[in-house]
Point group: C2
Chain length 311, copies 2
């Protein structure tokens, strides 16, 4: 199959949402017009076979996930997504695989009115890079750097599910968390003007929280382990201690971790019913550097490193 | 080396140009503000080891080229580049390689005031995706679809050099064309309001011209082979016939091919001295479909396929 045939067959779809997209797939570049009064948010993530997904995984899930991890970053900025580019490197062009991959990608794209505006297809080891552009009111983005001493630390849902899925197979619920992460875009919208900082948990809760603490001026955190939301299936299969360990240090959760001043905490309990998660308070920002996890001894102090690529 | 160390050491550089970049590397996404009255142009290209570059090639050239091929797309839209993201997949982290790669990338980025605003580093087979955002006055982009019957067809410089470099080693001039393509950004600016269509020649002259003809309403072209600019080194090493063949069908030229109405042709001869190329008229758009190359027999008629990935 030739490159242009492949693009036309699988990736050029009519897009009814394309406001602001003047030229999409098919020219040297996409032509986009920003909405007045809005900032553009650009995020990008690469997924590599054998690192981010397994070769035997469903192509539908691989396509869905490649977009989902980017939308999770958009959510963490408090933005809504508008357009995406897809760079797909393929060892061979299997129409069945490509069709399912595209279906997975567009299932999520359609859900959030994201227009695929361009990309690149190349021959090589199976790898994909998705770049997403979103919008948020000028100056309103949720950054990592705004946490203040006294803020409460919240997470948008149970942690450690994706890491637990890798430890115990045959757990359909956990497998779904790993393969089909839900970007918390509605929650991200609700956090505008409420949260002082936000990040999406991709490298592990402690590691990502550490980014907030570092970038907010070397602050610290006290975490109450007994409040950390876990997956029942993980606790049942692996025991509470292991499930808690994975919730603290596992990666690929794609929940949001964010900070809220105590006086705004009641707003979190009044989230609209269409918001896609129920945030839970797990700790507090303090001035003393380091991250202390209470309720399981001191062994996590200052050891908050999650998943980083290491060479 | 850990991921964050690698980013901080090689890719986080102070950027004096960053107007419109409110948040760059280091958050979940970059925060960008579009200039009033401008469209945003987004282009993206992936480079794979063994396909787009050789493993023994200089990392400086690989870094330069990964950005250059994207800036060439920006030039073909008549835009100027503003920001870039870099997704780098690496089998191992060799500081010397990374340092030279980053130097090559930033050499070109600095030349065009492009700010690196984000990206991703992952472990895996050597692959890189660069995405670039540029700006052009609203509605002024050069598209592939505007050519009209009677327009003259021009190219921005000699063709076939990169393809010739692959055929004959030890030709430093040709090797430089292959490894360090020059994006024709100044020329792209001069074409605004002058050219009716434009494309950058990455897949081969005839193949890329065919995109213009197809997208402008299934038009055709008469090309005069004797006007096609060739590299002296290619003619000397490979003979005129082979050099011409590579100019017509070789890829990776990264010159612009564009169409200009005859009455505006004199403007092409008055290009400012700071423009980076001297366009040459090589043919004419006609209503009869297909591309006829005169001066070398009829064998190129309708065979205008250049480089496409094929699986």
């Amino acid at each position: 199959m030739r490159e242009f045939d492949l693009i036309n067959r699988f990736f050029r779809r009519p897009s009814p949402y394309a406001s602001g997209v003047d030229v999409g797939i098919g020219d040297d570049g996409a032509v986009l017009s920003a909405s007045p009064g809005m900032d553009t948010i650009v995020v990008t993530d690469t997924s590599v076979e054998g690192v981010h997904f397994r070769s035997d995984q469903s192509p539908h899930a691989i396509g869905y996930r490649a977009l989902a991890v980017n939308l999770s970053d958009i959510a963490a900025m408090g933005a809504l997504p508008r357009w995406a580019t897809l760079n797909l490197t393929l060892p061979h062009a299997d129409p069945e695989w490509l069709s399912a991959f595209a279906d997975g990608f567009f299932e999520l794209a359609d859900q959030w009115a994201v227009t695929l505006v361009g990309g690149d297809t190349t021959r090589g080891p199976l790898t994909m890079t998705v770049t997403v552009g979103g919008e948020v009111a000028r100056g309103a983005s949720l950054l990592r750097s705004g946490a203040r001493v006294g803020d409460m630390i919240l997470v948008s849902g149970p942690l450690g599910g994706a890491a637990a899925a890798l430890e115990c197979s045959n757990q359909a619920n956990l497998e779904r968390v790993l393969q089909y992460p839900t970007p918390r875009l509605m929650l991200g919208q609700s956090l505008l003007g409420v949260a002082t900082s936000a990040i999406d948990i991709s490298d592990g809760f402690l590691a990502d929280l550490q980014h907030i603490l570092d970038q907010s001026g070397n602050l610290g955190a006290n975490i109450d382990a007994s409040n950390l939301p876990l997956f029942d299936a993980a606790v049942q299969s692996l025991g509470r201690e292991k499930a808690l360990d994975l919730a603290l240090r596992g990666g690929d959760d794609y929940e949001l971790c964010f900070t809220v001043p105590p006086e705004k905490l009641p707003l979190m309990k009044q989230l609209k019913s269409d918001v896609d998660s129920s945030p839970i308070c797990v700790g507090k920002v303090v001035s003393k550097g380091g991250c202390r996890v209470h309720g399981i001894g001191d062994r996590y102090e200052r050891s908050g490193q999650g998943y980083q690529h290491e060479w």
